[in-house]
């Protein structure tokens, strides 16, 4: 990655105000071929004079912006199927460095876009003959593994899972039944458990080849039963079986029966759903199930979808003005977490599919979440409630957020080794469980302004870690550890002043 213009900015440079010219070229990193129609976005560092602008490269991969005020800008290039690049990134996991456009000067950039990584290989039988149309799953190598991609083999048993960010992955063949027997889900290399799996390291612009899996023959089961839909007649219902290998759906027959086959032994979640009729809303059901034998009588009834009444109170139990409160929700399934979405509440009510859900409130300068209460979940003394809070919804329920109007805040400056303020550097704030030494909520990030200043508001009291650096993009907890993130403590209603020394890694990250 080109980082020739990686600079520590001085405040004087940021004050420049006359027109500057920015042009350049975007190429494919692997081949150097020009990339037509790539999107270039130029964003001034907070406090600068320019405006955010974007344009696309021409057929020769070239771009040129109209003259803009001199100053510091963050520049991002992207194109479909390529990893986006912030100009000045040292590596995939690092942040871009602002480019200083000088008065009445031209700046020429060359940006090389890398492709995401991929893993390829074959699924083979006992004779090394490829097994066609066999599903293959890629998991991020975490505990528990997180499913990130799925592919199916071709006629030769060849698969390719692409669009992978750099990192460690596990590859697993899915359950498959043939005329004369079944294959169990099997990790690379020939292991049936995640603990025995051999991780595969992926980097940008590279296919990791020859990750060949030989599925283990084994006993597969069937899962079936009937679903009763009160008032719904015999209209077919959709039944979905979810596991850590993804999900599959079937429709019930005329007698309301469903069947999944083959099913590998393990933990599953069963969902059923039907559209509402004239007098009732949508009906649904949720049932966790563990498979270790054939089951033909897993019967259950649909119920109205759970409706959640959200309540917002202050710590004294008085109603909290919820006009500015937004609720985020995401569904949790064995196949992974759904995308977080803002809820559109009607009278503070919302209907959900039954199952596991997590709720949180996005940071707000005016309050923080002091406590959470929901079905099977209540914040205990010493617990934090300002992150995601999980509940299991099987019927209508009350979910209560206790909000305090006295949030904490932290501000300061990021300085380099020479004690100069650094503009445009990312500052990360991580809610931190100091005792458990783990992350206690979502990581927050702001970039410093042209004066090198940052500020976080709406903080719950408790421990946090702070880090100012170009080395990472959204570092995980272990990266925060390794970078020596500064542990701070926020107190209710207090504004903490805390300067941060810019972290610079000793070696180049990739």
């Amino acid at each position: 990655m080109n980082c020739s213009l990686t600079l520590v900015l001085s405040l004087g440079l940021a004050a420049a105000s006359h027109a500057a010219v920015l042009r350049g070229m975007v190429v494919e990193a692997q081949t150097g071929r020009p990339l037509a129609r790539a999107l270039i976005v130029v964003q001034p560092v907070s406090g600068g004079k320019g405006a955010t602008q974007s344009l696309r490269t021409n057929p020769n991969g070239v771009f040129e912006f109209p003259p803009m005020p001199a100053g510091a800008y963050l520049i991002t290039a992207s194109r479909r199927a390529f990893a986006p690049v912030q100009y000045g990134q040292k590596g995939w996991k690092s942040s871009g460095v602002p480019v200083v456009l000088e008065e009445a000067r031209e700046t020429n950039l060359r940006i090389a876009l890398p492709r995401y990584g991929a893993i390829t290989g074959r699924i083979v039988d006992e004779n090394d003959v490829g097994l066609p149309e066999h599903d293959v799953i890629a998991y991020r190598n975490a505990r528990p593994p997180v499913m990130v991609g799925k592919a199916s083999t071709d006629d030769r048993g060849v698969y390719r899972i692409f669009g992978l960010e750099p990192g460690a992955y596990m590859i697993r063949s899915a359950t498959k039944m043939y005329d004369d027997g079944g294959y169990l889900p099997t990790f690379y290399k020939d292991a049936t458990t995640a603990d025995g799996a051999r991780p595969v390291e992926v980097v940008l612009d590279q296919d990791v080849p020859d990750i060949t899996v030989r599925p283990t023959p084994g006993c597969l089961y069937s899962l079936g039963g009937s679903i009763y839909n009160p008032g719904g007649g015999r209209a077919p219902l959709t039944v979905t079986l979810v596991s850590d290998m993804g999900s599959e759906s079937v429709s019930t027959d005329a007698n309301g029966r469903y069947k999944f086959s083959p099913v590998a032994p393990g933990k599953y979640e069963l969902y059923a759903q039907a559209q509402g009729g004239r007098t009732q809303g949508a009906m649904a059901a949720f049932q966790p199930v563990e498979i270790d034998r054939d089951q033909s009588d897993l019967n259950f009834s649909l119920r109205p979808q759970p409706e959640v009444q959200f309540a917002f109170e202050d710590p004294k139990g008085a109603p909290f003005d919820s006009s500015s409160v937004q609720v985020l929700a995401r569904q949790k399934q064995l196949s992974g977490e759904g995308a977080a979405q803002f809820l559109s509440l009607t009278d503070n009510r919302h209907t959900f599919a039954p199952g596991r859900w997590e709720f949180s409130l996005p940071p707000n300068y005016a309050f923080y979440v002091a406590a959470f209460r929901g079905p099977n979940r209540e914040t205990r003394a010493g617990e934090r409630a300002d992150g995601w809070n999980e509940v299991v919804l099987t019927q209508s329920a009350l979910v209560k957020f206790v909000l305090s109007g006295n949030p904490a805040a932290v501000h300061g400056a990021v300085t380099n080794a020479a004690r100069d303020p650094v503009a445009g550097v990312p500052v990360y704030l991580e809610p931190y469980d100091a005792e458990g030494r783990r992350r206690a909520g979502d990581l927050r990030m702001v970039r410093t302004d042209v004066q090198g200043q940052f500020r976080f508001t709406g903080l719950a009291p408790g421990a946090y870690r702070l880090l100012g650096t170009f080395e990472f993009q959204m570092p995980d907890a272990s990266t925060m550890d390794a970078a020596g993130a500064l542990v701070i403590r926020a107190e209710e209603g207090a504004e903490l002043a805390q300067d941060v020394l810019q972290y610079v890694a000793a070696t180049t990250h990739q």
């Binding site: 071929r33 020009p34 037509a36 039988d125 006992e126 071709d154 006629d155 692409f162 009729g277």
Partner: protein
């Protein structure tokens, strides 16, 4: 070839001696991958008896690729090995397109057969832009190189623009990208390498066990047009909402489908002909068995942003079957086959259930064919509703195209109780009768030089005789040959198929000489 004919002659001499033998014979063998010689487990091996009409026996190979069939009576069998994504092989086949030779089993005997299964062919390449950079997730279609091109299937390139069509029969193909509109620009449907017309398209020839690589396509940039609008279902749901219908857009690029009860928006379209058809649940009565609509949309040089598509109740279509002399034939005695025909080609053939002299035909173009009861043939077809514009009049015993859904038409098929028939003897180069020889009979329109209906195939019996019954009057072509399996019209022509005329109530003798390619 001389060796093959000697073998056939030897088989012929053996067969009479084997007739009536009841002792069990055994076929053992192995199935391997042709290219590598690796054993193929879970391959299917089928022994189909010739002449006796007995059931086929099927087994699977074990993990070592071996199989054993132990329950066979002595006699002649066509033995076939197959596995998913491999070309099926009949024992004794000369090549992929040829028919297998019968395997003769004596009583209390053991025969060992080796099968080498070739993989079906593949074509791979990339969809690239003007700088040879792969275009991610771009759709492509593959066509059999015919006139007009015949759509085989569609797929999506990966993030590098790489694609791979596999499971292809040997033959000639055309590759074409599908019209696509992206945030950064739009691309016209383009044949490989970079032509928008089929006349300039570069064809590619593939064989078994072969992959043609680097067959790249560079889509041309150009203007696409919007296809958006509203469906107007004729029935509400219990809650008063319009019923949700499945809406299909068909073109020579394939089919796009969506479900909607109001607005729809298909991917932007290149200039060309399109058909929209919709189907949704009706109230179950004969006057409204479904909600349905059909709308041809020619796209030339403008956006379609307000297509209004009525999807009203559709009535069942009256259908009747009469004997030529005017007597009614019970619908239960015939099979009425139907397949939807749209710009993407013919759909799946389905059996239409006739209930109270009515059938359920959703709106759109359909092709209908009657399988008459034994000793009958179809001699006439009429339809009171509109025939499809431009549809060719076909022989009534083949596929008959109609434009269904108006509710005004009635289908009437006329059958004759005096069908034609054909029989004869197939002989080899030395004029010896040949048993187990494939004989192909093709209904043929001599004026348009086109096939009528489906190709029929029979095998000669132990004395080299064949017979076809229940034939509608008209022209046919006959061919006896081991060289082909299910030859197409051009192959029948090339192989010198014999043109014969069948007349109602007549059983025409037609002896054939085995067709041999030299």
């Amino acid at each position: 070839m001389r060796l093959r004919l000697k073998l056939v002659k030897w088989l012929l001499l053996l067969l009479p001696a084997l007739g009536g033998t009841l002792e069990a014979a055994i076929i053992r063998g192995a199935v391997v991958e042709n290219l590598t010689g690796k054993p193929l487990s879970r391959a299917q091996v089928t022994a189909q008896p010739i002449g006796s009409g007995g059931p086929a026996v099927r087994v699977s190979t074990n993990p070592s690729g071996s199989f054993e069939i132990t329950t066979l009576r002595a006699g002649a069998y066509i033995v076939t090995a197959s596995r998913q994504n491999f070309a099926p092989v009949q024992y004794g086949q000369k090549d992929f397109r040829s028919a297998g030779l019968p395997v003769i089993l004596e009583d209390v005997s053991s025969t060992f057969l080796n099968f080498r299964l070739p993989r079906l062919a593949a074509i791979s390449g990339r969809v690239v832009d003007e700088n040879d950079v792969g275009l991610p997730n771009h759709d492509l279609a593959i066509y059999r190189n015919a006139h007009p091109p015949e759509l085989i299937r569609r797929m999506q390139a990966d993030e590098r623009g790489a694609y791979r069509f596999y499971g292809l029969d040997p033959g000639s193909y055309l590759l074409r990208t599908v019209a696509r509109e992206y945030e950064e620009g739009s691309y016209l449907p383009t044949f490989s390498k970079d032509n928008t017309t089929v006349e300039e398209a570069r064809a590619v020839e593939v064989n078994l066990d072969q992959e043609i690589a680097n067959f790249d396509v560079r889509p041309k940039q150009g203007r696409l047009y919007k296809m958006e609008g509203t469906v107007l279902p004729g029935l509400p749901t219990a809650t008063g909402e319009p019923v949700t219908v499945r809406l299909t857009r068909a073109s020579e690029m394939g089919r796009d489908q969506m479900e909607t009860n109001r607005g729809f928006r298909f991917p932007a379209a290149a200039p060309g002909d399109y058909e929209l058809y919709a189907e949704g649940p009706g109230d179950g009565s004969s006057n409204c068995f479904i909600l349905g609509g059909y709308l041809p949309v020619p796209v030339k040089d403008r956006d379609f942003t307000d297509i209004r598509m009525p999807v009203p109740c559709v009535r069942e279509t009256p259908v009747s079957f009469y004997e030529k002399r005017g007597e009614r034939i019970e619908p239960q005695k015939v099979q009425l086959l139907a397949r939807r025909k749209d710009l993407a080609g013919p759909g799946e053939t389905r059996l239409l259930r006739v209930s109270v002299d009515r059938v359920q035909l959703p709106p759109g173009r359909w092709e209908l064919m009657v399988k008459p009861p034994a000793n009958y043939c179809v001699v006439a077809f009429s339809y009171g509703g509109p025939r499809t514009d431009g549809a060719e009049r076909s022989r009534p015993d083949g596929w008959n195209e109609v434009s269904a859904g108006s509710g005004s038409g009635a289908l009437r098929f006329t059958l004759s109780a005096s069908p034609g028939a054909m029989h004869g003897l197939v002989s080899g180069l030395a004029h010896e009768p040949l048993s187990g020889a494939p004989v192909y009979l093709e209904g043929y329109d001599a004026d348009s030089h086109k096939r009528v209906g489906d190709l029929q195939m029979g095998l000669t019996d132990a004395r080299g005789n064949y017979q076809f019954r229940g034939l509608a009057p008209g022209s046919y072509r006959l061919l006896a040959s081991y060289e082909f399996q299910h030859p197409d019209t051009a192959t029948m022509e090339y192989a010198g198929a014999k043109l014969v005329k069948v007349e109602e109530g007549m059983d025409a003798p037609q002896d054939l000489e085995l067709s041999v390619l030299r």
